[in-house]
Symmetry: C2
Subunit: 223 residues, 2 copies
Amino acid sequence: MSDAADPAPMNARRKFRREGEERRRQDLIDATLDSVAEHGLQGATVRTIALRAGVTAGLIRHYFPGKEDLLHEAYAALMGRMTEQAKAALLMEDASPRQRLAAFVTANLNAPIIDQRVFSLWATFIGRAGADPTLARAHREGYLGFRNEVEAVVAEVLTAERRKPDAAELRRHAIAINAIIDGLWIEGCLAGEMFSPGELATIGIKAIEAELGLAPEKQFQEK
Amino acid sequence: MSDAADPAPMNARRKFRREGEERRRQDLIDATLDSVAEHGLQGATVRTIALRAGVTAGLIRHYFPGKEDLLHEAYAALMGRMTEQAKAALLMEDASPRQRLAAFVTANLNAPIIDQRVFSLWATFIGRAGADPTLARAHREGYLGFRNEVEAVVAEVLTAERRKPDAAELRRHAIAINAIIDGLWIEGCLAGEMFSPGELATIGIKAIEAELGLAPEKQFQEK
DNA sequence: GGCGTTGTTGTGCAAGTGTATAAATAGCCC
DNA sequence: GGGCTATTTATACACTTGCACAACAACGCC
């Protein structure tokens, strides 16, 4: 075990495979999110990202004009996945508005939306929104989209209860409910082990029903 | 206006004053927070911070073992100020528990606690809590302290209403109310101009009274 | 006033940063 | 199989980063 016939020359160039453009971009974006989640924006260097994606640093510039653009696309991808997952819970067919609202809250207050990694990413990026108009706009759109979803379900729920809320009242409810979900989401992400499974969802549903003045129903009170 | 007697030699050393240790440390911490708020953790370099503090970079190492330590102390200072301001609103003498709770919420949902700069700082640091145990611990302590304050006031309010909540119920109320305040705080910081002055506080108080099952009182319903 | 202490500056350095660019090679078409 | 082309690697470069260290000067003390 010493000299022998080493078939690879010492300065061998790295072997590589050509992946499709879409695949490479996705890999690089995922590697970026991983790097940011693990080491923050300062630790997300082109070399770290490339290493994670299994390529060399130079390739990044082949798919993105600059590091900034990669970061922005990564944030957009993150927001897209989050809102997509959140809204998916509203798509239940043949369910009462109230059940759909409860399902929406439950979905938002459990894995995979309650997740420390996602929270770290969200916080890291949103912390730059004050100085980066691009991030600020992306957030604003995501937030309003989310709140509008909430407002729509709330309108359905109240209508089903034969109440006729005006626009201002509806808006206030949506803001409050959105705050409840956001606040509990943060608590869950930052200190998940302090809550028993499903506890946050239960607390959230109760708080929201109180906010809307809904009388508790048997079917929503398990034990 | 050309040669003349220039009293200062070209390579003049910078004039400086010796400040007290406490003063310098404070200045450096403040400069750090400013830098982080403006350019994020990546933009908060020793040179940027020193420039802002009106000193040169080398001085930082005279007061802090390393940049990391300065950042940690800055975060601790930030958290200290935030919780201090928040709790101050609870110190009202001769006020009913319910009034004190309302004052607490109002204080937390207006300037200076609703502030984009503070939010940016909070988000930037908290985004690292998942990977940095020191930050995680600092947050945990601040959060629990805040929630305990909430729980104490809630207990007073319910007692004044002649209700006897058990510990579990109290805990759930505190979690929910904390979430409402946090969620509205975020909304206000990120999109303050979308809300009229005092609107968030009004929404928060109403939501919390609903959560606690308090009948609205005249004195809290202006117009 | 002179003197010593030490807070403060300035310079240097090795490691790491994003980006530019040339060289190489993987995979497709014929 | 032999080119062609675009993906990918590798190297280079100017610049920034945190930190070490020596020189300096502000201020208290006598």
